[in-house]
Amino acid sequence: MMIMIWGLKWCGGGRAVVTDWWCGGGGLRVESGELWVEEQWDMIRAIRACKTAAEERGVVRKECAAIRAAVSENDHDYRHRNLAKLMFIHMLGYPTHFGQMDCLKSIASAGFPEKRIGYLGLMLLLDERQEVLMLVTNSVKQDLNHSNQYIVGLALCALGNICSAEMARDLAPEVERLLQSRDPNIRKKAALCSVRIVRKVSDLAENFISSAAALLKEKHHGALIAGVQLCTDLCRVSAEALEYFRKKCTEGLVKVLKDVVNSPYAPEYDVAGVTDPFLHIRLLRLLRLLGHGDADASDCMNDILAQVASKTETNKNAGNAILYECVETIMSIEDNSGLRVLAINILGRFLSNRDNNIRYVALNMLMKAIAVDAKAVQRHRVTILECVKDSDASIRKRALELVFLLVNDSNFKPLTKELVDYLEISDQDFKEDLTDKICSIVEKFSMEKIWYIDQMLKVLSEAGNFVKDEVWHALIVVISNASDLHGYTVRSLYKAFQSSSEQESLVRVVVWCIGEYGEMLINNIGMLDREEPITVTESDAVDVLEISMKRHTSDITTRSMSLIALLKLSSRFPSCSKRISDIIIQHKGSFVLELQQRSIEFNSIIAKHQSIRSALVERMPVLDEATYSGRRSGSLPTAASTSTGASPLNLPNGVTKAPAAPLIDLLDLSSDYAPMPSSSGGDFLQDLLGVGLTPISSLSGTNQAPTSGTDVLMDLLSIGTPSFSPIQNDLSTSQTSIQAPLESLSSISSPLSTQVSSHAGAGSMIDLLDGLSPSLSMKTDPTQPDFSGTNGSIYPSIVAFQSNNLKMEFSFSKQHGNPQTTLIDATFTNLSSNVYTDFIFQAAVPKFIQLHLDPATSNTLPASENGSTTQRVRVTNSQHGQKNLAMRIRIAYKVNNKDVLEQGQISNFPPGL
């Protein structure tokens, strides 16, 4: 049976490098007659015979039960047998913590076999983070002082592999003493054990310096290798050690290296014709640390480095490993141009090697060399570019990173072209990395907008599904700013869409541009010299939007953008108006709330409001590049940080924006827009595009975010302030959906009340939304100015807020038949001698109150009480008669272009409001 398993399991036909690796043979050789080994074999056989995982679990469970029983009976005779079984079970991934104490007991017993298996179990079953480990400290200490060298060796090995910082401190003196042991095998183990100790507790380094220096004179290779390693680690953690070794040992080390390099054939250490490559490499590494930043030490090692670099055998891996290390050393030590040339040449040879391993390390090393000699690396640019196209993912990744470092002002165009061309044929899983790098190169180096737009179009058409959102956001901002390229861009996009309509982010940009510049597409406006005129009809353009609307792969962002684009086209393409409204109406029943709502709203705009539609859907104002990039880098644009402390609330709300602002707000129907305070570019474009799409899931994700931040960011979206309470800590979805119509209402109605002179206009606008939430019509009635002021003020005015610089007074009035609603006229007076500009008043109220802010009469406050600004605030207290009004306010303005923020709480409202 054994032989059968053998044959079955040993069927790998791969390259056998060790000679005679596979020599046909019988069963297992039983080297020892140890009974426990055979029992262990029985278990392994039983486990291997299992055909299913369940069966295996059964066997393991049975074995574990037996071992537990033995543990609880404290069975000495079977302890090591059980431990060996446990280790195997552990290797299969089953829990074995119950065996930990047995390891400790086994270590504490007197015999070598028990100790050997005990230490093995300790290293396998435990790691430095388990507290049980502390219990073994004493046993280890005794074993370190044992007379038997093999027992000392076991203890050192365990200590070196798993000791914790506490153990390292406790046992460091013992290890230090063993560094001077008579047996070289103990010395080498002690040296590596010290390596671990020094890594764990770096302040112990000083104690090891002199014994480590002594190890550098070893003749025994093992001890010498370990000693060199210890010195290397000491140099890394302690400047004192570095200085000491640099002064005392550099010459000695150079001599040791010389001896090894020139040593005659030594069969014991020979690897492919090189004597002890491991020692070579460690010596070179230590010399690197010593030579770095020290001209004298570097001088001292020049000759031997030149010898290693020029004489080492290069047709075997061992020799190349030494050369690789040597090149790295030459690159880090102080400048010697001759050596550097030698090193760069070696890298060139490596790079053209057929062995993938060698090419990989060459690329790796060139990354480091670029800091030293960028020109020399540039010479290999063509070869490196070839490596980007390699079939090996590891090499591609390395090469791509290297190319990214190689790009500069003079070569970015050809390099980008190469990479973009390669994008077409690259593997799917490499496209993400590749597009990422191309986009950063293009963004970083592009000088002309047309080049930028062209390159991005290529990337989006090839790998639009792999680019990050910021990339296409940035592209839209650039397009919006390049007014002379609008026509060219929209036409190129249209063409790209015909061939690559499956690339999501390309589709989004296409949809946006057609919505904005659709007529340029049809009429070939703004032709560039290099362009061929194309014939696109209005219905072709609508086709694009319809396709992206209906394609099942389009996500909600794309669909919403398409809806908006359709609305925009409806006024520009009168001939397609009917068709567009048909497409929009199809989404009235969409399961996605956002789409459904928009489709209803847009439909009413098309059907009922011909007169204002063209004004509503005008082209977007040019997006501000500086603002956008500022947002991207995380800082906020107009009002960065304020004197009273940084806050995310100083965004300009609609009031301070240019005349275009109401338009944006109009389009901005974002209902359940949940801003994510930390995200950057995304929300910016989204609120400009009016795609307030952040789904409800992300709403709950922002619950931890400061709600006041959320409030004010919501303010941004409309001129009116939605009545979000500052104390509310949970934006439940139901609440949001209740408030949604109200907000969209406020964002539509308030600019209208200022813009549209006739009341009928405003009224009809409100009609529009009547269908959405009838209950609101009652609350919104008061917006009609007819009612305001019909009721005299029966409440005393108050000074709601006063600081050294600013006074805010509130006067109150009520309306007939609506005791819940109070109209507040806020009057702001500037008490200082400077003019305030960009004045913004913001307010927040508790949950039971609803709040509406009208635009202020002005956003500047003249100095020294020479006039005032007023702002109408309407509050509806749903618990009228039970609770008083309360309000938190925040006033932001600029004095001499410096931002000032004032905030406070108003609790002195007259009772009964």
């Binding site: 399991k9 040993w10 790998g12 036909g13 791969g14 390259r15 056998a16 490098v17 060790v18 690796w21 596979w22 043979g25 297992l28 050789r29 140890e34 080994v37 060996a84 280790m87 290797m91 299969l92 991934g93 829990p95 015999g111 070598f112 076999p113 050997r116 298996i117 093995l120 290293m123 396998l124 790691d127 983070r129 093999y150 050192l156 095998n185 183990k189 054990c193 890594r199 093992g222 290798i225 370990a226 014991e268 250490y269 690897v271 002890d276 491991f278 490499i281 891996n317 061992a318 490993a321 690789y324 290390e325 993938n356 391993n357 390390v361 790796n364 079939s391 090996d392 993912a393 390395r398």
Partner: protein, 161 residues
């Protein structure tokens, strides 16, 4: 520094694991699962290095076994390949043309050999002969102890007869 050593069979079974940095059991299982997915699917002609979560994994296939060592970013990959080969040659010498089954049934021996080769994730001995001698000496210590125990129990058995 070598962070860990893994021996994985072509079927994805773990034959030996040695961790020189602390990883919880959960992390270990995750690493083994993900890494074997990456390494076992790589083609034969590709380079022997995989970049892995800020580390590099150097692996080499010997018949049906993959020997993997995870190292720091700035370690010498080519040297680690040599260390792997060094380990394989020592195993081969010890078991007399080693095969996967040797490592399954005598997994503890494989660990003993690895412990003579590496400590604290660093190479300890570059001479195969020295390692073979040290292992043999310790094996014979175990033998002697067993024989003594055996003869002792024989004497007891004789006496109580």
């Amino acid at each position: 520094m070598i962070q860990y050593v893994l021996l994985i069979s072509r079927q994805g079974k773990v034959r030996l694991t040695k961790w020189y940095s602390p990883y919880s059991q959960k992390e270990r299982t995750k690493i083994i699962r993900e890494l074997s997915g990456v390494i076992l699917t790589r083609g034969p002609k590709l380079c022997n290095f995989v970049e892995w979560k800020g580390y590099k994994v150097v692996y080499k296939r010997y018949a049906s076994l993959y020997f993997c060592m995870c190292i720091d970013q700035d370690d010498n990959e080519l040297e680690v390949l040599e260390i792997i080969h060094h380990f394989v040659e020592i195993l081969d010498r010890y078991f007399g043309s080693v095969c996967e089954l040797d490592l399954i049934f005598n997994f503890h021996k494989a660990y003993y050999i690895l412990d003579e080769l590496l400590i604290a994730g660093e190479l300890q001995e570059s001479s195969k002969k020295t390692i073979a001698r040290l292992i043999a000496a310790q094996d014979s210590l175990v033998e002697t102890a067993k024989e003594e125990a055996g003869s002792l129990s024989n004497i007891i058995a004789q006496a109580t007869k």
